[in-house]
Each structure stands twice: as structure tokens, then as C-alpha cells.
Amino acid sequence: MSSETDQQLPAGAPAPLTIKELNTENPRWCAGCGDFSIIMAVKRFMVNKQLPPHMTVNVSGIGCSGRAPFYINAYGVHAIHGRAIPVALGLRLARPDLNIFIHSGDGDALSIGGNHLIHGINKNFKCVFIMYDNELYALTKSQTSPTTRKGHKTNTQPTGTYLDPIIPTSLAIGVGGSFVASTADWMPDHLVKTLEAAFAHPGFAFVHVSQRCPHFDPDNFDHKTSAWFSFLTHEKGIPPDSRLADKTEVVQHDPSNKEDAFKYASSQRTYFGLFYQNPNKPRYDEILQNLIKQAPATTLESMFEEFKI
């Protein structure tokens, strides 16, 4: 099968891909929703890479983020709640030629789909996993999610969310993630660069995106200032956002250093950038496809010989 990374249109192809061709209907999201920025970044990335939309599949679960595939004119599967990863794995095993992006919210990925996330990361099958983290359930009207900050009031925990949140990047590194990065919807340059690094990664690329929810949690994520977060960068990492690089701290961090990666992921301070990468982790999809390549040829007729009496 052809490599996933080399499907750019041949030079001189008549019509290069543009954002316009990737648009479908008007998204049914609230005004100011961070999801707009995320799908725009995906489209910009596809245009930059000239990724053929017919070779690209967006797979999602349920929630506001679940609608993302509808608004990108590629192939798409809007699956059931929490189960985008199993569907994406099936596609990957069946069609190694396709580019696969998974769109999943914090509830979808870490709550109902938590088991699949652990095993998707561990199987390390080739895909870009984008976690839309608005830190609550929005489509169902403001309930506490696994990443809701402690004390934040929701419809199910009206006196304030009871528990400390799960830290997605820390979890992803902890269960053996081979690519763990974090970015935010309001820094398009960094978001696109992160997607590029994720797409180039040979395995399961976990991309955490802090996402604004102006409807249910307008005070979360102060996107107008930048002193509250830092960028992680490195020659093997992701460059800081071009617009914000000189407005906040930029930390040199070698993404092959897992110990430091944990430290930054579990810090009280917010870090954006590439936390951890191991390009050599074995891929489940590759292993299974190699089994086929290496299997001796046989026929059903000869298999029946084993049952012969």
C-alpha cells in the first residue's frame, strides 16, 4: 500500500485544493464556538498539504465535536457516543491508503469512550486524534465532564464540580502515547503546525485542543491574554505560535524526554506544544498488515484437506 504521507496532488494538477472546496453547509454551532477554529485549522492543514479529500476520512463520536465531519467536504463517519476510535481502527485496518482524523470531545474521549482511548493509544494505529476539550458536556446542556475544573458549577453538580479533572495529556503519556501534543483553538498558527506534526507522526497522534465554549462557560480560557501559559518547543518539537511567541514564556523541551513530558503535563501551569514523541513504537495496524504480507499462500480447498476423513 502507498504511504499515507505522500498523497499530495501531482505537480501541475489542474485544480489545487482550496478552503472553499472543503466547505459544506453552515455549521450548526453557537456563535464564537471554538469548534469553528478547529475545523478551519483542519481545512488549512489539508490545503497546505494538498491532501485529497476523497482519500481523507473524518471520524467522530457524539457531542458538539461529533458534528465536525459534516462540515469538512471529505468522507466522514459520525458514529455513536465514545466509539469513534473502534470505527477508525476498522477503517485503518481495511484501508491503509486512507488519511484518518478522529474528532472527539472530552466526554466522548475520556468518559464514555475512555476504554477505547486507552486501547487506541496503546495499539498506536496511524491516525490523528483531535480531542476537543471545552471541559464540559455542551450539547446536552452543561453537565460535568471528566475535565471540568473542580468547583465549576454545572447542571448535574450545581454546587460546583466535586472532583479534580483528569489531565488528558498526562493520561495519554501514561498509557503509552507515542505522540502527545496540546494546543488551543484561538491560536490557529500553532494549531495547524500541531496538526502537521501529528500527521507526519507514524502512529496514533494525540492532539489535545483547549476549546472555548462561550455558551456554557464563557469565563474559561482567557484567550485575550497569554501570560497564564507557556509554549514547549524544540528542534524535534512544534514551533510556538507566531502571533503569541513573544508574548509569553517559551520553554525548550526535548519531546523524547518522557520524564519531563510528565512534569509539564501534570504542572499547575498550562503548557502548549509537543510533550512527548516516540516515532519507533510498534503499530498494531502495521503488524496485522505484515502478517498478511508474510502469510504463506493457501486455498480453501487445501484447508479442507485438514478436515478430511
Partner: protein, 609 residues
């Protein structure tokens, strides 16, 4: 040793789990089969690996039916029991599946330490009127067994049963060597063979009776000995399916085991998922990518998969689900059989959704079913079920080597498979909810699928008319199937008359055998078993009207107030007063004898009213 000639005989070997009863069964049936006898074997084993020995829970055994005619089921009561000790014997006698003349060969090896228990067991046998032949494994054999750390008694019993059924020693030796030759070191293999000879010699001298069953089937015909799950696995390859996903569950796991070794040679992937839901999701993902996929499970897994099943129906993604039924509800009895998953298969997922359900009744059905399932799933773009059960999955049977179709596309399905399931080819054009059904990789046809309602362009739509249309289009797919279904085969010569006995899946063999026997005695009774259980053929009413009374035989619970699943479906479909005639959820198959007796009683009762 006297020799009784007979056409059919059934014996049981009862042992503690972990001592090789299943292996012994395998060796014995291969020996019988190689000498031209028909066999059918049903294994009995606990859900646990090694329950404490000498307990009732430890019973692991095989029931073997041998005949000089083609066998379609495990048959009636047992003629010979060989038991390792009194406890497994006592446990099995509870099932009351022995003949009044059944002969019991009881190993007295454990008697010294359990005098009273042995006496009680013998008293029970005497009360039941069964003849007991107590025996001790010879000292020579005991010494060899000791050197094998207590293992090898099964070889002794194989020897005894070979002598009792007049199978030459060389025949069984070949089978023993074929089974263990590569697995055991030479001196261990030789010790096992020595024990076998001891058992054989012992029985020749000390067992006063033996049976001789003619060698019947033509030597020229190529035949295979295969169990339901292996046949299904071969059928999966034959159907051109390229991805099989599952989560370990009894009794479906052996499909994964069989394919794991061979599937890559056919370009196939065996995927063991992290859970049941993931397994079905992966099959759906593969099929959306245009690569035929199947997920195999059993009852508890079916419950977990239900949301995705409804999704596949609405998103119009083809899907094949195998449900090897076991005794439920909940965890139930994992190594016992039942047919109670039918409503969960037909109506399981929430909301109105559509699917086709195939029920397999013999190993040939198992082999052909994946091809039909693929054809229907892809033509209709909906989930198709293959319903098997524990007994079907684990029972071996000899069949003529079946033809190979090697399907590349759904349309490659041969007519003989469609005819086998009594269905005509579907019309070329079948309307879908969404007009465009392109597979990823097709330029210019990009589309998104969803579980939300959509219009014919695939755009999400919550309007009344559109939703009603989606339902109509989905249901019309099933109506196409109904219109293509032909009249199912009626057993024997009775096509109209007093009583019609209806079943599905593995009840076919026992019903057919019982109905034929009753017809031979001049009773006006017909029999019928569905191979496609949902939807049902339109012609059903016409068939039912030709009989005064219609009843079902089902391995499912029913009583005066609760109707069994099949009876319920048939009533709804035909408005005929269908009731279950035999319905049991005991975990044991229903025997032809039981059905025969109930047929006679039912016809007698009908005469009175």
C-alpha cells in the same frame, strides 16, 4: 465378548475436567469416521477450566452417536456410559438421558476411599434398572498412569470403547498418533499407547457385550469431519470476508482461534478488540471502507453491541454479526445451549430498525451462511445476523466436502447457496435512504454517514416527512427479502394434515428425525424449520392453513402464560394459534424421542376434542 449388530448407538464418556475426555472423544469419532461410520459428537464441559476433581461441577464428557446412516443430531438416549468415578456418573444421571437398557461401565478406582458413595451410586443404578459393569484399571496400566502423574486414564477408556464398538486397534492407534505424535515426547506417547492397549485387552476379555455398526458410506466420496464454528470460519473465508473482530467469549471464541491461524493467508485480519462494543465498531469501520467484515459474539456481547447494530441500520453500513447462543439471561450457563436470543437479535436495538436474521441448523448451513449474510448485508446495506448456538458450534459431523465459491463481490454468491436458504436473488435496484453510497477513495463523491436522520442527500434532517420516509425505505429493504423468500422445505411426504411442527436453527435435526419416524408410523404430521428466521416468508399463512394445528419446538423457556419467541413471532405473522409443543431452557438439546412422544400425545389430544 458377544457381538450385537446395530444401525445406531450412543455412548458417553464421563470424566473430571482436565483429564482428557474431550481429546478422547475426538480420537474416537475420527476412528469411527475413518472406518466408514457416521458420527455426531456433543461435548459437555464446565465453564471453568479445572474445577476441583471428584465434584459434580467437574463433569467433562462427550456424547457420541455412531450409525450406519447419515446423522443430523445427537439423537436420543444413551446406550453405554463409561464413567471415571461415581460422582460424574451420579451428576449425569440427573439429566435422565439414558436408555432403560443402558449399560454403565463404572471405574472402581476411587472406591476404596469412597465406599459409601460408590454403594449409593450402585443403588441408584439398580433403582433405575440399569446394568452396571464395575471395572478396575489393570495394575499394569495403573503403574504407567502413575508414571504420567495420574494422567492417561482417557487412553484406557478409548481402548475399552474401541473394543466395545469393534474398531480395530490399529485404527485408533493411527488416530492417537495423529493427535499426539508431534505434541508429546516419544516415551510419553508410547506410555499413552500402552495404556490404550491395556484398556482394549481388558474390555475384550472382561466386557461381555459389544456392538457392530456397518461401514456404510461410499469410500470414493471426499468427506470431512467438521464442527459448526470451524465450518463457519471456512464459510467466512469462502464469502470473501476480510476482517473478523471479536472479544473473547464462550462459545464464539473458537471462530477467532480457527481464523487467527489461517486468515492472513487469505488477506484477512483477525482483530481481538478491547471490548464487545469496540469489536462491532471496528467491523463497521471496515465495511464503511468497502471491506467486508464480521463480528462474532454470544449473548452478553450481543447485549453490548445493540447500539452499534441500530447505527449500522440507520447509517446504511453493511454488517455481519454472528451470535453463537448460549444459555442466558445474563452470564447464564456459558457452556450450555439455548435459542433465547432470537428477540434480542430481531428487536434488540432501540427504535424501529431493520435487519435480517439467519439461523443455522447444521454444519453445511454454517459454511454457507457467511456468503448469504454478505450478499444480503451489501445489497441491503443493513446488519445481518447469523444465529448459531453452543451445540451447533461444538458438535462435529461428517459431511461431503462442500464446494468452494471464493466470492470476490456480493453478487458472486452462487445460486446453490441462495437455493439452500430458500431465497431468490434480490432485485437489482433497491432504494436506499441516501442516494449516494460511495466508498472512501472515490473522487468527487465525498459523503458523511451518521446515526442522525437524514434526507436522501445525506443532510441531517429532523423534519416529519423525511423521517417517515427513512423508515419506509429501510423497511422496504426487509419487504424485498420477504418477497424473495420461497416455501421452506417440509420434511417427508406430509404436506398437509393434522399437525405441523415448526422450529429454527439446531432444532432442525431432531424435528426432522422425529417427524420422519412419526410419518413412518402413519401419523399425519409435517415438519418445517426456518433457515432465514427474520423476516418470514409471505407464503407462511398458506402453509399453516394446510394443517389443523401448528406447534413449535424451541430450546427456550415457555409456560402456560408465556409463549416462546418463535411461537410469538409465528402468531404475530400469521394470526394462527401457534403454541410451543416442546420448550425447555435446560441447557440440553431436545431429543427426537421427546419430540416424537409429544407429537403422539398432541395428536391424541386433538382426536379427543
Amino acid at each position: 465378548m458377544s457381538v450385537e449388530k446395530c444401525h445406531v448407538s450412543r455412548f458417553e464418556l464421563l470424566m473430571d475436567a482436565g483429564f482428557g475426555a474431550q481429546k478422547a472423544g475426538d480420537i474416537l469419532i475420527r476412528g469411527f469416521a475413518h472406518t466408514g461410520r457416521y458420527v455426531y459428537i456433543e461435548p459437555m464441559f464446565p465453564a471453568e477450566i479445572s474445577p476441583p476433581i471428584r465434584t459434580r461441577a467437574a463433569l467433562s464428557g462427550v456424547i457420541v452417536r455412531v450409525a450406519d446412516f447419515d446423522l443430523k443430531n445427537i439423537g436420543n438416549n444413551t446406550d453405554i456410559i463409561v464413567a471415571q468415578h461415581e460422582i460424574v456418573l451420579d451428576r449425569r444421571l440427573d439429566d435422565a438421558e439414558h436408555n432403560p437398557k443402558c449399560r454403565v461401565l463404572l471405574d472402581m478406582g476411587d472406591k476404596k476411599a469412597n465406599e459409601e458413595a460408590y454403594e449409593n451410586a450402585c443403588k441408584r443404578l439398580a433403582k433405575l434398572g440399569l446394568t452396571v459393569f464395575p471395572f478396575d484399571i489393570t495394575e499394569k496400566a495403573i503403574a504407567v498412569i502413575k508414571s504420567l502423574s495420574g494422567k492417561g486414564k482417557n487412553m484406557y477408556y478409548i481402548g475399552m470403547l474401541s473394543a466395545i464398538y469393534n474398531v480395530a486397534e490399529e485404527v485408533m492407534l493411527t488416530e492417537i498418533k495423529a493427535m499426539f505424535g508431534e505434541k508429546l515426547e516419544e516415551d510419553i506417547l508410547n506410555k499413552n499407547i500402552e495404556i490404550f492397549h491395556c484398556g482394549y485387552d481388558y474390555a475384550k476379555i472382561h466386557v461381555p457385550f459389544s456392538f457392530l455398526i456397518d461401514e456404510k458410506y461410499p469410500a470414493k466420496e471426499e468427506r470431512i469431519l467438521i464442527d459448526g464454528n470451524a465450518a463457519l470460519s471456512m464459510g467466512i473465508i469462502n464469502a470473501g470476508i476480510k476482517l473478523v473482530s471479536g472479544y473473547p467469549i464462550t462459545p464464539a471464541s473458537s471462530i477467532l482461534h480457527t481464523l487467527a491461524k489461517t486468515f492472513p493467508s487469505f488477506g484477512g485480519v483477525v482483530h481481538q478488540a478491547e471490548d464487545e462494543i469496540s469489536a462491532i465498531g471496528t467491523a463497521i469501520g471496515s465495511y464503511f471502507g468497502g471491506v467486508p467484515a464480521l463480528t462474532a459474539t454470544s449473548g452478553p456481547g450481543l447485549s453490548l453491541k445493540q447500539e452499534f447494530i441500530g447505527y449500522a441500520s440507520v447509517a446504511e453500513i453493511p454488517l455481519i454479526v454472528v451470535d453463537v447462543q448460549r444459555s442466558g439471561p445474563s452470564t447464564g450457563m456459558p457452556t450450555k445451549t439455548e435459542q433465547s436470543d432470537l428477540p434480542a437479535a430481531v428487536y434488540g436495538s432501540h427504535g424501529d430498525h431493520t435487519k435480517v436474521v439467519i439461523g443455522v441448523g447444521n454444519v453445511l448451513d454454517c459454511y454457507y451462511a457467511p456468503a448469504l449474510a454478505r450478499y444480503l448485508a451489501e445489497k441491503l446495506r443493513l446488519p445481518v445476523f447469523i444465529m448459531s448456538d453452543f451445540n451447533m458450534a461444538n458438535s462435529y459431523k461428517i459431511i461431503k466436502k462442500p464446494p468452494v465459491a471464493n466470492m470476490k463481490t456480493a453478487d458472486d454468491i452462487p445460486d446453490y447457496i441462495l437455493n439452500h436458504f430458500w431465497i431468490n436473488r434480490l432485485p437489482d435496484k433497491i432504494e436506499m435512504v441516501r442516494t449516494e453510497q460511495a466508498v472512501p477513495g472515490t473522487p468527487g463523491k465525498m459523503r458523511r454517514v451518521t446515526g442522525l436522520n437524514t434526507d436522501s442527500t445525506g443532510t441531517v434532517n429532523y423534519f416529519a416527512e423525511t423521517n417517515q420516509r427513512s423508515h419506509a425505505v429501510r423497511n422496504e429493504k426487509i419487504h424485498h427479502v420477504q418477497r424473495c423468500l420461497k416455501e421452506p422445505e417440509l420434511f417427508g411426504k406430509v404436506k398437509e394434515g393434522d399437525l405441523l411442527v415448526v422450529g429454527w436453527g439446531t432444532m432442525r435435526g431432531p424435528i426432522a428425525e422425529a417427524v420422519h419416524a412419526c410419518q413412518d408410523q402413519g401419523l399425519s404430521v409435517g415438519g418445517m424449520c426456518f433457515r432465514i428466521i427474520y423476516p418470514m416468508p409471505l407464503i407462511l399463512n398458506d402453509i399453516f392453513r394446510r394443517f389443523k394445528k401448528v406447534v413449535t419446538v424451541e430450546m427456550a423457556y415457555g409456560d402456560a402464560y408465556k409463549r416462546t419467541p418463535l411461537a410469538m413471532f409465528l402468531r404475530t405473522k400469521t394470526l394462527v394459534d401457534v403454541n410451543p409443543m416442546v420448550c425447555r431452557a435446560t441447557g440440553r438439546p431436545i431429543s427426537p424421542l421427546t419430540i416424537r412422544e409429544r407429537i403422539k400425545e398432541t395428536i391424541k389430544e386433538m382426536g379427543k376434542t
